[in-house]
């Protein structure tokens, strides 16, 4: 549904998006994950035809955004909830959007009702809390009953009840066969709200997959507490493992299974007190993935 091909965007000296390539499929909630400043918002603006890409392209159902004759009927987007004229009422804001795409005003009342701001629909938007603005932004995105929905950091500013509401909304939109693309810099948010995840860092594509596949492929490590950590560390490093001391004299070992660590400890005569495999949490997977991208982009790397 959404296809990003060799997309790059340069702002003066910074390369905000660097040869990005991915696809977002209908029927599932796809998370768009990356640290702040990694190019998520820029990518979304390019998908919506607001920013011009330096090279490459982004298409929705095979069309560039600007080529869609009735854009709000095909794509709904929430970029910045506060991006509404503060002096205008929510109803007028939605009616103007509706008029531009020939959507009946009855639909405006329906979406206002649906997001739960009917009672304040005639108040000036400048008086809204961030949570109310988010709901208005979602109402605007749903206005044209679009097949494709984009949300940029939608949970920011929502209270816990609002967050739960929005997660359920994404699920139900996806279950209706729509394409739902949601950005966040919080892995924990993606873990509960997304089925598929596209990870980027420094404007570059890092990985894409289901939640399970991302955690399964991530490197776990082995927690090992022993009678002689120093001796064990030397033995492990000699076998090519990456190991580092953690608190209470234990070691954290990656690149080896628990079986390997046990055999090495036995061979070097070190007593083991505890040997535990640790599966990486989503948060750690994310840190690991994006740390690589930061390292990749940092200047003065040896050998460069």
């Amino acid at each position: 549904m959404i296809k990003v091909e060799h997309l790059s965007k340069r702002y003066r000296k910074t390369l905000a998006v660097d040869d990005l390539e991915f696809e977002v499929r209908p029927g599932v909630v796809t998370g768009f994950l990356g640290p702040n400043g990694s190019g998520k918002s820029t990518t979304m603006r390019i998908i919506l035809g607001l920013d011009h890409p330096t090279s490459g392209r982004a298409t929705i159902k095979g069309q560039k955004y600007g080529e869609i004759a009735d854009p709000l009927h095909v794509v709904g987007a929430l970029l910045d909830a506060k991006a509404v004229h503060p002096g205008r009422s929510a109803r007028s804001h939605l009616r103007a959007l509706a008029a531009s795409n020939r959507i009946a005003f009855r639909r405006v009342d329906d979406v206002l009702e649906f997001v739960g701001i009917s009672a304040v629909a005639d108040k000036r938007v400048g008086e809204y809390s961030l949570g109310m603005s988010q709901r208005l932004g979602i109402a605007a995105a749903l206005l044209g009953d679009p097949e494709v929905l984009l949300f940029d950091e939608p949970v920011n500013g929502l209270d816990p009840e609002g967050i739960r509401w929005i997660r359920e909304l994404f699920r139900s939109l996806a279950s209706e066969g729509r394409t739902v693309f949601v950005s966040s810099h919080l892995m924990s948010e993606m873990a509960v709200s997304a089925d598929q995840i596209v990870v980027i860092g420094r404007g570059r594509f890092i990985t894409q997959g289901s939640l399970e596949s991302l955690t399964a492929n991530a490197q776990g490590f082995v927690y090992v507490r022993s009678g002689d950590p120093a001796q064990l560390l030397r033995a492990l490093v000699a076998r090519g493992a990456v190991a580092s001391p953690v608190n209470d004299g234990a070691l954290s070992v990656s690149g080896l299974t628990t079986d390997d660590v046990g055999r090495i400890a036995f061979a070097s005569g070190v007593t083991l007190f505890e040997l535990t495999p640790q599966r990486a949490s989503l948060e750690e997977v994310f840190m690991e993935l994006t740390a690589d991208s930061v390292e990749y982009g940092s200047p003065g790397r040896p050998g460069e």
Partner: protein, 261 residues
């Protein structure tokens, strides 16, 4: 498909946006107050001092231009209306939802212009004809008056409204170029207030050469039935003002199309 974005639907959307903010209402009210109200104040002042005015002053008196004196102030009100119609979208960020709804940027500008120009044209015509009529009734009996049954007089009052409409469009064009309300209003004010002052400081021969081409002088030429020395007549003045506005608009549209929103 019946749901396609057309110029007509974009105009409807812009009309809703135009009338649903307080700044438009305040701007239009200010335009009326300045054109008609301040115009009346000017006319009263002229009437009360008429007997003490010199013969030369009396001989060169123009009841049309004088009654339209309020446009000199109202031009800033309409300029601000035009500028805010686009800069408020940038300051709030609403330009992104606007362009997401109407991605064709050229069409968006045309839609905004249709709404802005037709509304302000109507407002400005009512204001100018109101100011003229009120002014003549204030003058009546004491000061020479003019009548709309005279062709050139009718044209001057009509062009007063055209001038204000052109200036709201200029404000809008500057808004497209500069995108910031404050910057836009500064430049607009500089063109209309500071430029004449700068010209005034130049040697007389330069003044004679340049002053007649300034936007504010063009306005005076448009609203005067008989062109005074060293100024263009109404026709060429109107045309030149349109050229300025068209140039600014062309630049604005080009920048809107090229830049990221």
């Amino acid at each position: 498909m019946s749901s396609e974005v057309t110029l007509r639907s974009a105009v409807r959307a812009e009309w809703i946006k135009f009338r649903s903010v307080r700044s438009t209402i305040v701007g239009v009210a200010t335009t009326f107050v300045l054109t008609i109200g301040l115009g009346a104040v000017i006319c009263f002042a002229v009437r009360s001092r008429w007997s003490s005015a010199g013969p030369l002053r009396q001989a060169t008196f123009d009841p049309v231009t004088t009654s339209l004196g309020g446009t000199l102030f109202a031009q800033f009100a309409v300029g601000v209306i035009g500028a805010l119609f686009i800069t408020s979208e940038y300051s709030s960020g609403a330009i992104r939802s606007t362009l997401a709804a109407v991605p064709a940027r050229g069409a968006l500008v045309v839609a905004k212009l249709v709404v802005l120009v037709s509304s302000i044209f109507l407002v400005a015509q009512i204001a100018c004809f109101g100011a003229f009529s009120l002014g003549q009734s204030i003058f009546s009996g004491v000061v020479p008056t003019a009548s709309l049954s005279t062709g050139p007089v009718l044209l001057s009052v009509f062009l007063g409204g055209v001038y204000l409409t052109a200036l709201t469009t200029l404000g809008f064009a500057l808004g497209l170029i500069l995108r910031h309300s404050a910057a836009c209003i500064s430049v607009f004010t500089s063109l209309l207030l500071i430029l004449p002052i700068v010209t005034f400081l130049l040697p007389q021969s330069w003044q004679n050469a340049f002053a007649k081409f300034e936007p504010s002088t063009l306005g005076q030429s448009m609203m005067t039935p008989t062109a005074p020395a060293n100024s263009l007549s109404a026709g060429p003045a109107t045309l030149l003002l349109f050229v300025y506005v068209a140039f600014a608009l062309g630049l604005g549209v080009t920048m809107l199309k090229r830049r990221d929103a």
